[in-house]
């Protein structure tokens, strides 16, 4: 064996052990009736796990919840992030300070954010419902109707800063001259935003959207820390559903199959992301 192969051998072995083996093993599990409670009786089921999942109401509900969460949270973050970025860019004083403060939520671990909001929004103990009650508004943030929306708000609180960061960088990288041309051309601020800023920022927006969407698909911590998928199945998102199937009900075969479906969806997004970045 030549030297170069010997040099990469340790890394190859390491990667095989920590990446390839689990991946192949879980693919194998996803094709079997693999229950942690019945390890003496593992049977091959072919694609039955996959077929079963697609007809399984709880899975489809979890998928719907997740898609709604992704769409809601990410569009909220997009609008807020872009708005804040445009305002911040114009800020003359305290700009660095404002940036630092606005970016802070991003650096908190999500499980802590989940716990924090669980208390702040709790209908019995929370400060926010308390003050809303003083204003005559009784809102139960974690009721069946509102819980998923509340989770979107929490996600937006934590991840809008990411969008803000991307858009600020994007805005600063834009050439100044088209904006001066727009001024001379007599465009109103609104027209300049729609016809100059937004189209020129498009590649950045696309990339930010996809990165956030990928991340939002994996939402787990808020659900785990706050609602545990409830009330009922109102906030049961896909990752939480997989977790429950695998580690509560010990049905590893199905859980693995779901995980692979999630990977497939993610991969599609990644492919779009790459082609979007290439086009830029």
């Amino acid at each position: 064996m030549s030297l170069r192969y010997r040099l990469i051998l340790p890394l190859t072995l390491l990667l095989a052990a920590v990446m390839a083996y689990p991946l192949v093993f879980s693919a194998w599990i996803s094709l079997h009736d693999y229950r942690l409670t019945r390890l003496y009786d593992v049977r091959f089921r072919g694609l039955d796990n996959y077929l079963y999942i697609f007809g399984d109401a709880p899975f489809l509900k979890a998928m719907t919840n997740t898609l709604m969460f992704v769409a809601g949270a990410v569009s909220l973050e997009l609008v807020l992030g872009l708005g804040l970025a445009l305002l911040l860019q114009r800020l003359v004083r305290f700009q660095n300070f404002a940036r630092a403060v606005l970016l802070a939520p991003m650096f908190i671990t999500p499980i802590a954010v989940g716990l924090m909001f669980r208390f702040m929004l709790s209908s019995e103990l929370g400060v926010i419902p308390h003050y809303l009650r003083l204003m005559g508004l009784g809102v139960d943030w974690f009721s069946a109707d509102l819980a998923l929306f509340s989770l979107m708000l929490i996600d937006a609180w934590q991840w809008t800063p990411f969008m803000l960061l991307m858009f600020l960088a994007g805005l600063e990288a834009l050439p100044r001259s088209p904006f001066e041309a727009a001024k001379v051309d007599g465009a109103s601020p609104w027209m300049t935003f729609w016809h100059v800023t937004l189209p020129m920022l498009r590649p950045v927006i696309l990339v930010a959207l996809i990165i956030r969407a990928l991340d939002a698909f994996k939402v787990f911590e808020y659900v785990y820390a706050i609602t545990r998928g409830g009330p009922g199945d109102a906030t049961e998102v896909i990752l939480f559903h997989i977790y429950k199937t695998g580690f509560r009900f010990f049905r590893m075969g199905e859980a693995a199959a779901m995980a692979f479906i999630l990977i497939a969806i993610t991969l599609v997004l990644v492919v779009i992301l790459y082609s979007a970045m290439q086009r830029k």
Binding site: G186, A187, V196
Partner: protein, 362 residues
């Protein structure tokens, strides 16, 4: 069409004073060129005219309106930027029509005007493309097209030809001039290329270090430069200079005494300037027209074609002279050649202030 008036216009960026009191009137229909070395404030002046930079002090009038505090879109101007400043994501047609769209013209009329302008500029077949698919010269035309569809009362150009190759530049110069004639709009045009200024301008405004040095027609600027700076800046190769002191109706210089008309008083320190084409062979110039006959030792000759530039030395200064090719054999390297200067071709400046003293400014 509107004229332009700048009244005591000043501009500072922080503590740096970039424009120091600019007074300028541009008549309606005039093609005025701002000319000056890099960093003298030409672009700043133009950008203030456009409303892209606020004035620190002074007033800007376009036509009968004081526009000093108006937004660009209220000034009825069109500007061609040095770097074209096209909208990268729009097609050429959209680029050209954007200003009309901002003025809420009906789409049919926009299309019509864009088409007319495109035909005029010969870019009709480019209308569907995007700026990055165009060459520099084509983008240039688009930028000009975007300005002319607007039919503004004032055109502003910021070094629009500086990115083009020499041949295209000369072609575009002619096209721009024709355009100016046919549109008959008032134009303020910035360049640091003196040839461009000389060939295009009705009037040249020479700027230096944030001030106006001289305003005049191209021939006034060339034949009667108002200051040492203008004299040295205009003309290529540059004017020759020699310092001296006035005494007895002559100027005593290190290379010999030079007589000149209308001299200031004795003892005044002056700088005499004469252009490279203003050397004569002593026999060719009548006695009474001769300011001085001096000897020069030839250093080298550069042949340009029909003419050549002779670099020669007198005292410890180099002088450049231009002669037709058939005379160049007289300038062998190392030879000493007597040459005369004509009285009516001399320019006299006060050494201290650089101000022109003789012959008087026109």
């Amino acid at each position: 069409m509107a004229g332009v008036r700048l009244k005591d216009l000043s501009k500072s960026f922080g503590a740096v004073e970039v424009l120091k009191g600019i007074d300028l009137t541009v008549e309606p229909h005039e093609f005025a060129v701002l000319l000056g070395p890099s960093g003298c404030g030409k672009s700043t002046t133009l950008r203030m005219l456009a409303g892209l930079e606020p004035a620190t002090a002074g007033e800007i009038w376009i036509g009968e309106r004081n526009v000093t505090n108006l937004e660009p879109r209220e000034r009825d101007i069109a500007m061609v930027f040095q770097n074209y400043a096209l909208y990268p994501h729009m097609t050429i047609a959209q680029n050209m029509g954007f200003g009309l769209k901002a003025r809420k013209l009906p789409a049919a009329e926009i299309a019509e005007r864009v088409k007319t302008a495109a035909e005029m500029l010969g870019i009709t077949d480019l209308l569907g493309r995007r700026p990055r698919e165009l060459s520099g010269g084509q983008q240039q035309r688009v930028a000009i097209g975007r300005a002319i569809v607007r039919e503004p009362s004032l055109f502003l150009f910021d070094e629009p030809l500086s990115n083009l190759d020499a041949k295209l530049r000369v072609e575009m110069r002619t096209e721009l001039l024709q355009l100016h004639r046919s549109l008959d709009a008032t134009t303020v045009y910035v360049t640091h290329d003196q040839e461009e200024a000389m060939t295009m301008a009705d009037r040249i405004v020479v700027m230096n270090k944030g001030r106006i040095e001289q305003i005049g027609s191209p021939s006034e600027i060339y034949f009667r430069p108002a200051s040492l700076m203008v004299a040295g800046f205009i003309g290529s190769p540059a004017m020759n200079f020699v310092d001296g002191t006035v005494s007895d109706g002559k100027v005593g210089t290190p290379i010999g005494a030079i007589s000149a008309p209308s001299l200031p008083g004795d003892g005044t320190k002056v700088t005499i300037g004469f252009r490279p084409d203003d050397f004569y062979f002593p026999d060719d110039l009548p006695e009474e027209e001769t300011a001085a006959t001096l000897s020069f030792s030839v250093r080298f000759v550069e042949l340009l074609g029909a003419r050549g530039i002779v670099t020669m030395r007198a005292g410890d200064t180099d002088f450049k002279a231009i002669f037709e090719e058939r005379f160049l054999h007289r300038f062998e390297e190392g030879a000493t050649v007597p040459l005369s200067l004509a009285r009516d071709r001399l320019h006299l400046f006060l050494k201290e202030t650089g101000e022109r003293v003789a012959p008087d400014a026109a």
